[in-house]
Amino acid sequence: MKLHRHQLVLLAGGLLGSALATHTSTAEQIWVKSESAEIRSGKGAVFPLVATAAKGAELTVISREPKGWIKVKSGEVEGYVYENSIAAQKVDASGNLFSAMGAGVDASKTTSGAAAKGLQPDADVYARGQHLSTAPLNKLIAARNKLDPKEWQAFTAEGKVGPDAP
């Protein structure tokens, strides 16, 4: 069958439109429903934080992983969130200035390689007000952040315990 030029244009346009529609429909968007959501480099609390997403932040799903983990992307940030802090519908974050500004995913407050958050300013204020030292808690946080995820994986495999336990 011979096609005329205008038919080819229509066909090409149709294919392009179809491809765009397919692309749009596969880019699943999800929103943070809890006050914040940790985005980590791996599927588990043992893995370092790469960013914290505020309530209402919009994330693009890269893949749905087993046991409730979701690989997501937001701008330059890529990592894993857990399903309990995520909604399939847009979340009203009115009052949350950070999300209202359209950002919502903050990688600036995470320390490279750290799985646990550092001392929060409010906790520091509490300690100073009560004349208490933050050194013991900082020591625990540092010990926690020193733990290599590979060591934990070897530990669970050796004992046949953990998320992949039989």
Binding site: S85, D122, Q130, P136, L140, F155, G159, K160
Partner: protein, 283 residues
């Protein structure tokens, strides 16, 4: 400052944290309040804090960290990096099978031979060296940590502070101020006070036991070990000088019965890892 048990509220009476700080030892009245699931000294009546500002989920990290600051100052840290790493590895293992595997978990061992454990909002879990010494295998440790992690997942600490905030006594404890930062600071101070002085309610403890056993089993550990530990601590209490205190808070019996019944409905078996525990937690 007095100290409140969270994990094993009934166990606080077994080996109460004696000589506690400037307010003296944990007293029998407080233990009675704790175990009975009644309100503590700060919460005596209904009413509401007369200010819109209140502690919410977004403040859990600050609250959990502040409580951890208070307790690590009170008792100090047990200095054994190998044991701390082991407790952290086991804690992260049970956390990975919990409904909240992505929290900001930090684990620690308090330098006291009293038997106790603590969980602060958003994942700050502290156990005493005395409690570790009572254990015989890794599954027992996993059970205790799973119980504490269940409190974290259930937001029990936050709910307890919010309940206290609604009380007149709590409101009266706040100094008059028009400064939001000062007021928030007072709320954190009051919240830490609640977390470190009051016990969870008995229903919260029952829920944490049930959830803890589910989680440790899901992580591959033998839930029977948690029951073994509870029974051992119960027996120890009966033969200790604290038997009188036990009579004021018989909650451990009910908890043992419930855990026992729960285990009958679960698949038997699982890892206990006594050798690995002995290697890492040598007495």
């Amino acid at each position: 400052m007095n100290f409140r048990t969270i994990l094993l509220s009934t166990l606080a009476g077994l080996l109460p944290l004696a000589g506690c700080g400037k307010n003296g030892p944990l007293n029998a009245d407080l233990i009675g309040d704790m175990v009975g699931g009644q309100t503590g000294h700060l919460v005596k009546a209904g009413g509401h804090v007369g200010n819109a500002m209140a502690i919410s989920e977004k403040d859990e990290d600050a609250l959990g960290q502040s409580a951890a600051v208070a307790l690590t100052n009170r008792y100090g840290l047990y200095n054994d990096p190998k044991l701390l790493k082991y407790v952290t590895l086991v804690g992260l293992t049970v956390a990975s099978a919990s409904p909240n595997p992505n929290a900001n978990y930090v684990f620690g061992i308090l330098n006291t031979e009293d038997v106790n454990a603590f969980s602060g909002p958003n994942g700050y879990v502290l156990i005493t060296h005395g409690l570790v010494r009572q254990m015989k295998d890794e599954a027992e440790l996993a059970g205790v940590l799973a119980h504490e992690i269940a409190h974290v997942s259930n937001h029990d600490g936050l709910h307890q502070v919010q309940a206290a905030e609604r009380s007149t006594a709590f409101a009266e404890g706040l100094k008059a101020t028009s400064n939001d930062a000062d007021r928030f600071g007072q709320l954190i101070d009051g919240g830490v006070d609640v977390l470190t002085k009051q016990a969870y309610t008995q229903p919260q403890e029952f829920d944490a036991d049930q959830a803890g056993v589910r989680v440790m089993s899901a992580a591959g550990y033998d839930g029977q070990s948690y029951l073994n530990l509870l029974q051992r601590l119960h027996t120890t209490a009966g033969s200790s000088n604290n038997a009188t205190l036990m009579s004021t808070h018989p909650g451990l019996d009910a908890r043992i019965q419930r855990v026992d019944a729960q285990l009958k409905g679960l698949k038997a078996g699982g890892a206990t890892l006594a050798d690995r525990f002995a290697k890492n937690a040598a007495k």
